[in-house]
């Protein structure tokens, strides 16, 4: 069974932002979602968690396993959020609370969702920090986000997302705010986690280079619509849509010819 099935999703935030989007995530696979800013890719991932503003009009279907997300009330949504679907945000220096220790942020939802006591939650947190390779996990629990480097912070954010062993991980530009040198480490970690935990990952990015490294399948989104969807190999070897070719030619060091601009 698919981990996440999005069917004919439409999101209207005063203007249509996502139109007729359908996407399926399989366990252990990384689904890339590429597109320029404003193409609706972030809105799509927020819709999956029911995190869009109250004024947003959302139609279609988002199923996590058997659970339909659209129309769910907050209480029921909170049993999906963090527990079955988790999210990693773009900038870990903004997505971690500056006044709360890493330990607190790593355990509060664990204690809520998994009903662990303080001690068990802490042991669990230590394991997670070790898994995402944060050095000196014991000390890290008592530290605050500003005491970590950007890459370490994103590792912490990933550990928080994985804490309740979710089926689906939404990663929204998880490497964009990071130095080029640490991006690769984070991407590798996501790939490894997807493989070992049979995690279905939706990797949202504007950078096809990121997807070329780790995605299994890639969907290209433009102005709220998926214009092309294929396996990684197909997409890079034989891009069908003019916009995909344009994105590919925009990558640095691209072997593709300069494509005509799509307007």
């Amino acid at each position: 069974m698919s981990a996440l099935t999005i069917t004919d999703l439409n999101v209207d935030l005063g203007r249509p932002v996502v139109r007729g989007l359908s996407l399926t995530l399989e366990p252990g696979k990384i689904q890339g979602l590429a597109g320029e800013s404003g193409s609706g890719k972030t809105v799509t991932s927020l819709a999956v968690l029911g995190l869009l503003p109250r004024t947003a009009r959302v139609t279609g279907s988002i199923r996590v396993g058997e659970t339909e997300i659209i129309g769910l009330r907050t209480g029921a949504l909170n049993r999906v959020r963090g527990r079955r679907v988790a999210m990693v945000f773009q900038d870990p220096s903004a997505s971690l609370h500056p006044q709360l220790t890493v330990g607190h942020q790593l355990t509060d939802h664990v204690r809520t969702h998994m009903k662990l006591d303080r001690k068990a939650a802490k042991a669990h947190a230590l394991e997670l920090l070790e898994r995402v390779r944060v050095p000196d996990p014991e000390a890290a629990l008592g530290r605050y986000p500003h005491q970590f480097s950007g890459g370490q912070r994103q590792r912490v954010a990933i550990a928080i997302a994985l804490a309740c062993d979710p089926d689906v991980l939404l990663a929204d530009e998880p490497t964009t705010a990071l130095d080029v040198t640490v991006q690769a480490g984070i991407l590798r970690l996501i790939r490894d986690l997807a493989d070992e935990r049979r995690l279905a990952v939706l990797l949202v990015t504007h950078d096809l280079g990121v997807l070329s490294a780790i995605a299994d399948d890639i969907a290209v989104m433009r102005q709220g619509v998926i214009v092309e969807s294929a396996t990684r190999a197909e997409l890079f070897i034989n891009p069908q849509h003019a916009y995909t070719r344009e994105l590919l030619s925009a990558m640095p060091g691209s072997p593709y010819e300069e494509a005509p601009r799509v307007d």
């Binding site: 995190l51 049993r79 959020r81 903004a94 500056p98 500003h146 970590f148 280079g209 060091g253």
Partner: protein
């Protein structure tokens, strides 16, 4: 054909396991960063205190006419012996810098001179006036902060909806009503007409004040286990605190609403929602904590503003605090009294700023550990 690889991804295979630079602090940890921070703040406060004493000292020398006559009053000033004794005691025959040092020396011994209005040492007068004012001010801040946090947070969560509009109008009204007018109106309405609360003084005349521990009647009554006295003291606080709170609630509500709105739009609150935490958990753990620093700043400012606001309110409710004392001192041209109040208010402001700085350090690890 090979897959196109950007620079960043082509490094993946050879990357170190934890490919990020080492975490956190490279410097060895010093004894206590918070202590250092506090000592620095304390040093600044001491310098500022000296500044305050220079200003009050200058005041004595700026008074038109003879400072001795101003300090002693007309009667005593006509007696040459008294004048000579006064001049000697305060070193007024010495050059200004020496006079200042003498003044400072007296100050350190708690000698602020004798009040012309009451005939008692200013220090003795202030020892009863300060706790009286602090009792109103502290209670007002506590009540206002509680009310404003609820109103501001609810308004921010319901931004643009009816609740928000109502809260904004109410807080604007609280800010706009002149405090002295509100004091008179509520005195007239709640005390003279409805007779639901006492309207003047700290205590009903038939009760004796509690033995002084803190000087705050409510606290001292409680420490003494006197329930009747506590209720009476609290009843007397009701009107002044109500009047002062309306302004403070208005001020704090607007700021808290803005701060909470800002935090609600932050990534870390979105991340907390994405974790599936309950809305209450998010409000207390994430939202209010995030908004606590700007709230703390405005509470400090509001507390300072309260001290000046109490002058008029205390006069209306015959509250024997700093405001009433300052008012009487000014009316009687009681220079030692005025200087004493000026000094105390300066001290309180500085003390307040120090406490705010201390709380910053406690609330924000970036301040504490930087």
């Amino acid at each position: 054909m090979t897959l196109p690889r950007t620079q960043k991804t082509s490094r993946a295979p050879g990357e170190r396991p934890a490919g990020d630079p080492p975490a956190g602090r490279s410097r060895p940890r010093r004894t206590s960063p918070l202590l250092g921070y506090l000592l620095r703040r304390l040093g600044t406060s001491v310098l500022l205190l000296l500044g305050v004493t220079i200003v009050t000292f200058a005041l004595t020398n700026l008074v038109p006419g003879n400072p001795v006559a101003a300090a002693l009053g007309e009667g005593a000033a006509s007696n040459p012996e008294t004048v000579a004794a006064y001049v000697k005691r305060y070193g007024l025959d010495q050059p200004l810098p020496v006079q200042y040092l003498t003044y400072l020396g007296n100050l350190l011994q708690g000698d602020l001179g004798r009040s012309l209005a009451t005939g008692r040492p200013v220090t003795t007068d202030l020892a009863t006036a300060i706790p009286a004012t602090l009792e109103i001010a502290v209670l007002t801040i506590i009540v206002s902060l509680l009310v404003a946090t609820v109103l501001g947070t609810v308004a921010a969560y319901r931004r643009g909806m009816v609740t928000d509009q109502v809260v904004r109008v109410v807080s604007l009204v609280g800010l706009s009503l002149p405090t002295f007018w509100l004091a008179l109106v509520s005195f007239n309405f709640f005390f003279l007409q409805l007779r639901v609360v006492p309207g003047s003084g700290r205590l009903t005349a038939t009760l004796t004040p509690p033995p002084t521990v803190t000087g705050l009647f409510t606290v001292d009554f409680l420490l003494n286990g006197d329930g009747v006295g506590f209720v009476d003291a609290l009843a007397h606080l009701t009107l002044p605190v109500f009047v002062l709170s309306l302004f403070t609630v208005g001020l704090l509500t607007r700021f808290i609403r803005t701060s909470v709105l800002e935090v609600l739009g932050s990534d870390y609150v979105r991340a907390a929602r994405a974790k599936g935490l309950s809305p209450m958990r998010i409000v207390f753990d994430y939202v209010l904590r995030g908004a606590s620093l700007p709230i703390l700043t405005i509470v400090g400012i509001a507390f300072g503003a309260l001290l000046s606001g109490t002058v008029l309110v205390e006069s209306v409710f015959a509250w024997p605090g700093l405001g009433t004392y300052a008012y009487n001192a000014a009316r009687n041209l009681d220079l030692p009294g005025i200087m004493g109040v000026g000094l105390v208010v300066g001290f309180i402001y500085l003390g307040l700023n120090f406490i705010v700085d201390l709380l910053y350090g406690l609330l924000d690890p970036r301040v504490r550990l930087a």
